[in-house]
């Protein structure tokens, strides 16, 4: 929490949101410490309805906390041929202490490309634990990613786009600005030009990723950022890419960079 206070002093505005901070989770920022606005960038929280914000602010009422608990259980659960759990190597609480939620996707030299948190988890499962990879949008994968990103809650998004990551960042940026689908619209049309405007009953936000996996009321469960990308692609009648595709991992990097400085909010609640 200390470095968040420092950030405040550095002049990053704290969203004037009403916070019903009930968080009792050790090492995890409570609602009033969240940075919803950094520079000219604002979290989807700022565009959400008050009722939706209230659900997110109330850790006891946020329906996604079941997934945090579930993820915590998976963290310590032994699985696979090597007889290990995540906790065997990382310690029982290390997920709560790390900043993984702020840094991914990261460049992976062995793969020669960017790797998302989901892909890192499956690499660990296969190579260190001798366990089967989780399916992308499975209950286990969502629980573990919600748990790990929740461990970084309150910390500012901070992906690296330098060095080997630079060209993947450029690819993600290009994707964001590229028109697609029968409606011929790019991400930027809705989330840059349209942010703050109503598109019929929906208030368009900046399309920030700092709350993911996000609990959508529409889904009645958390979903990955790649699920959201697929939904937004299909909305404009464009063929979506696969979960974990290079295209989406690069897009995820660009979108995370756009939200730099915003607090990780996982599990955020949205419409």
């Amino acid at each position: 929490m200390g470095d968040i206070m420092k950030k405040q002093i550095q002049g990053i505005l704290i969203g004037a949101a009403v916070a019903v901070g009930l968080s009792g989770f050790a090492g995890v920022a409570s609602a009033q410490d969240m940075i919803y606005k950094a520079g000219d960038r604002q979290s989807g929280y700022m565009y959400a309805a008050k009722e939706t914000q209230a659900i997110q602010d109330d850790d006891l009422g946020n329906p996604a906390y079941i997934w945090v608990d579930e993820g915590e259980a998976l963290w310590t659960k032994v699985d696979g041929k090597a007889g290990k759990s995540c906790a065997t190597c990382h310690g029982a609480e290390s997920a709560m202490l790390t900043d993984v939620g702020t840094r991914y996707p990261v460049y992976n030299a062995k793969l020669g490309k960017m790797q998302s948190l989901e892909q890192k988890i499956n690499e660990e499962r296969q190579e260190k634990m001798g366990a089967k990879p989780y399916k992308w949008e499975s209950k286990q994968m969502l629980s573990l990613t919600v748990y790990m990103r929740n461990g970084s809650r309150g910390k500012p998004m901070n992906v690296s786009i330098d060095g080997p990551a630079a060209k993947f960042f450029e690819a993600g940026k290009k994707f964001f600005n590229q028109r697609r689908g029968q409606l011929d619209m790019a991400c930027k049309h809705c989330h840059e030009d349209g942010a703050g405007m109503m598109i019929r009953a929906n208030m368009l936000s900046e399309g920030q990723s700092n709350g993911f996996p996000t609990y959508r009321l529409k889904w009645q469960k958390p979903g990955s950022i790649h699920r959201r990308f697929r939904g937004c692609n299909k909305q404009v009648r464009a063929k979506p890419y696969g979960y974990g595709s290079d295209e989406y991992v690069n897009l995820e990097l660009f979108v995370a960079w756009r939200g730099r400085g915003l607090s990780v909010e996982t599990p955020a609640v949205r419409n």
């Binding site: 959400a48 697609r180 689908g181 029968q182 703050g196 019929r200 009953a201």
Partner: protein
């Protein structure tokens, strides 16, 4: 950047997507048209459209969905979009041929526009299979929308 809060986001109310993917649109075979002086003067069907039907198409989320971006004199619909200009009074600003071209292919006027082309079937990137090679609306539906838009004096 103005942040307005969603007036009706009542707890648990799940709002529909702005654009549905369920609609199978229109025609594969395009009617040829002539653009002259920033307008398509002639009806695509050779006949005038039906304004009452055009109004329905403007509301329908799987068809025109003009309300996603434009405020229109359609009081029974609670939500009107804000991305485009109000269409109230547009028939006083533009003539019929200009309105027709604007709906058929708005990029004629503005390369960077966000408004979709409703009568165009090529030049897109990664269109979902069921919409490939098809226009958003049929020539007859375009004419219905032109007829309706012309009533917005």
């Amino acid at each position: 950047m103005g942040v307005r809060s969603l007036a009706v986001g009542a707890l648990g109310v799940v709002l529909g997507l702005a654009f549905s993917t369920n609609a199978i649109a229109a025609e594969k075979k395009m009617v040829n048209y002539v653009v002259k002086n920033g307008a398509i003067a002639k009806s695509l069907t050779g006949k005038p459209g039906n304004a009452a039907n055009g109004r329905k198409l403007a509301i329908n989320r799987k068809k025109g969905n003009c309300l996603a971006c434009h405020k229109m004199p359609i009081p029974e619909q609670a939500f009107h979009g804000e991305m485009g200009p109000e269409l109230i009074g547009v028939a006083g600003r533009l003539n019929e041929g200009q309105i027709r071209l604007r709906i058929v292919d708005p990029k004629f006027f503005n390369r960077d526009t966000i408004m979709p082309a409703f009568y165009k079937n090529t030049g897109f990137t990664r269109v979902l299979k069921k919409f490939k090679g098809k226009t958003m609306l049929s020539a007859a539906q375009i004419e219905d929308l032109v007829a309706y838009t012309m009533t917005l004096k």
